[in-house]
């Protein structure tokens, strides 16, 4: 069994290490001391969120009749309605329902845009049922499907989601993602395109009307 003296001879004591560290720190210039102190404070704040990323700004409040901007589109929601069908546009199974976001949509950009730029970035949740991933768009006046928008033209549209059952509750949460214009996208080689982000820009709990 090795003796205590032998161990002390192999490793410097804690006291000696602290002494050398104190001497080293005392010899540092004032700027280095201040930097080290700041780093120490930051590290000490880590358990309380000091090193966490800045929180995302909350979504903007979506209200009935208030225009919201979804990329190149301006969307003003008039009402949200649950229907057994939207004939002749949509006739779902008897157990299913159609939730329609009735809105006036205007393309405010300066070039034509496909409807998917809008439908990829709108969602309805909160009814305790599954909905179609992406809504379909129909012109309210004639029930024709809307696939492409021209600049400066407004439409009253039925933004239609098919659900797998009756909606639970008296409200529906409508969400819109942030959609940004990307001039260059090396990932997709698709320049000058509107791209939806996984960040909710607009969100609102809107009253749900029911019609039979």
């Amino acid at each position: 069994m090795p003796s205590r003296i032998a161990i002390m001879g192999d490793r410097p004591s804690v006291r000696a290490v602290l002494s050398r560290a104190r001497t080293f720190a005392a010899a540092r210039p004032a700027k280095q001391k201040a930097g080290a102190a700041a780093a120490g404070v930051l590290l000490a704040s880590a358990p309380f969120g000091g090193l966490a990323a800045a929180p995302e700004p909350p979504p903007q409040q979506l209200l009935l009749g208030q225009p919201m901007t979804v990329g190149p589109f301006e969307v003003a929601i008039d009402k949200v309605v649950e229907l057994p069908d939207l004939a002749p546009a949509i006739t779902p199974a008897p157990t299913q329902r159609v939730v329609v976001v009735d809105a006036v949509v205007t393309l405010t950009g300066d070039r034509p845009e496909y409807a998917v730029t809008l439908t990829n970035n709108l969602r309805v949740t909160g009814g305790g049922v599954k909905t179609t991933e992406r809504p379909s768009l129909y012109v309210v006046d004639d029930a024709t499907a809307m696939s492409v928008f021209n600049p400066g033209v407004s439409y009253r549209l039925a933004i239609a989601f098919v659900t797998d059952g009756p909606w639970q509750g008296e409200t529906a949460t409508v969400r819109a993602n942030q959609v940004v214009f990307r001039e260059e996208d090396r990932g997709t080689l698709n320049p000058n395109a509107w791209v939806g982000l996984d960040e909710i820009q607009w969100q609102g709990s809107l009253p749900l009307e029911r019609r039979s």
């Binding site: 034509p112 012109v139 004639d142 024709t144 021209n150 400066g152 000058n192």
Partner: protein, 205 residues
């Protein structure tokens, strides 16, 4: 020739070659000639003869409603462009049909009307007739041009590069805009295809 003179001659040759290359890249419009389509202009009722097809706009109509099943109502107004196409060399698929306003804004045609044409599959030498329907705001009726090509516009006109493009002046002047916009009569379209439309549909503004 001694070694020093040979080295100097080689250096002079390299420098001259680099200078010539710089002159070429500076003064030859390489990018412009590589991307622009070859545009052939024509007016309403005239034929634009492209390398691969002949394009004629036989008439235009403006209406809020295109009849059919279902009837299609415009958000703005429908500008219907009645078009005759003939492939002159080989069977040709044509995808590019756009409207461009005087300010350069481009408008896409719609498939909402039952008989609105979307694209054109042409047999060689056989005339093809179709009506392209543009849902446009009032400003687009001021001096619009109809652009026709094999490739679609795609991203920034990439589908039309270095290919024939017909630029048809639809002959609508500023004085016509108000009259055309105020029209309310529905328009009935003939089915797209090789059967010529009824003469009554061939109306000028």
């Amino acid at each position: 020739m001694n070694r020093a003179a040979s080295t100097a001659a080689t250096a002079a040759f390299v420098i001259a070659a680099m200078g010539l290359g710089r002159l070429i890249t500076d003064h030859v419009p390489l990018e412009a000639s590589a991307v622009e389509p070859f545009t052939v202009t024509a007016g309403l009722g005239q034929t634009a003869a492209l390398e691969y097809a002949e394009v004629t706009v036989t008439g235009i109509r403006v209406t809020p409603t295109i009849t059919g099943n279902p009837t299609a109502k415009a958000g703005g107004r429908w500008l219907v462009v009645d078009t005759e196409l003939v492939a002159t060399r080989e069977p040709t698929l044509m995808l590019g049909f756009d409207l461009v306003a005087a300010d350069g804004t481009r408008y896409a045609h719609s498939s909402r009307g039952t008989d609105c044409a979307i694209n054109a599959t042409l047999a060689t030498g056989v005339p093809w007739f179709g009506s392209f329907c543009f849902d446009v705001p009032e400003a687009a009726l001021d001096d619009p041009h109809f652009l026709v090509s094999r490739g679609d516009y795609a991203v920034d006109g990439s589908g039309q590069r270095r290919d024939g493009l017909a630029d048809i002046d639809l002959a609508i002047g500023p004085a016509d805009v108000g009259t055309l916009w105020s029209r309310t009569e529905p328009v009935d379209l003939s089915p797209t295809g090789v059967v010529p439309p009824a003469p009554a549909e061939q109306a000028a503004p």
